[in-house]
Amino acid sequence: MNTEPDLPSDMSTGLQAERTSLAWSRTLVVVAAIFGIISVHALVTTQPWPLTLATTATAAAVLTGSTPIARRRLDIIKRDLHRHTAVRAATPTVAVSGLTSLASILALITIIAQSH
């Protein structure tokens, strides 16, 4: 027996925009934390200072921008929903995926440098 409730007929989006915006906030805070961890690791293991500086600066930039970015994402989603157009997410998803790859590369560099 299907116990799943039927969706409202007006296709209401409810709190979807807010939940998505909060997901962006959480993710960006985690991104900032990862760059912070890499920065501390680079500092503790006495890595070249440009690496420490770059990771610290990235952590600070992402942390500072997390709230405005999430707020802007909320506005864009609400606007797209209001206009009945497709929700646009290609650019922010590529950006955060790129930041994750960058964090991975920087972390790998610090680990390799530490092991030598």
Binding site: I34, V44, R88, A90, T91, T93, S101, S104, A107, I111
Partner: protein, 143 residues
């Protein structure tokens, strides 16, 4: 059949197929210029799932860096550094794969197809299990 168990194209006059209605910048329009606009709730759910995968990959990177940071007094230094490097690389790969997963799901929804199956979670679970078993073996050997 429940309405939520299948993809419903967003029923608005503007929801027509073609590049002109596809979302985002030019390169995104090229990738997503298929089908019709899906229900925005599904697109937002896809976006949140992508972000959850990103947080998973960031967690793996953090674990790798954490292992590398606290390994200095460990007897099994070489193995620990190897595990750290593997976790960091896996995290980076997962971060990239997440975006392709998001794109595949988005395209499938625009075409009105079901969500394509993903083996990433299975491979991830297997990789973590293997790393955990190897780590346990090394811990028992060293201690």
């Amino acid at each position: 059949m429940s309405q939520s168990s299948r993809f419903m194209p967003h029923e608005v006059p503007s929801a027509v197929s073609g590049e002109a209605n596809a979302p985002g910048p030019r390169w995104a329009r090229r990738l997503l210029s298929v089908g019709v606009d899906p229900d925005p709730r599904f697109s937002l759910a896809n976006e949140r799932t992508f972000l959850a995968w990103i947080r998973t990959s960031l967690g793996m990177i953090a674990l790798g860096v954490g292992i590398a940071t606290f390994v200095s007094t460990n007897a099994a230094r070489g193995f620990s550094m190897l595990v750290a490097a593997i976790l960091v690389v896996l995290g980076g790969i997962l971060g990239t794969l997440s975006w392709f997963r998001w794109l595949n799901v988005e395209r499938s929804m625009r075409l009105g197809r079901g969500i394509p199956p993903s083996r990433t979670a299975i491979y991830l679970a297997m990789a973590i299990s293997v790393l955990a078993m190897l780590s346990l073996a090394v811990i028992l050997t060293v201690s």
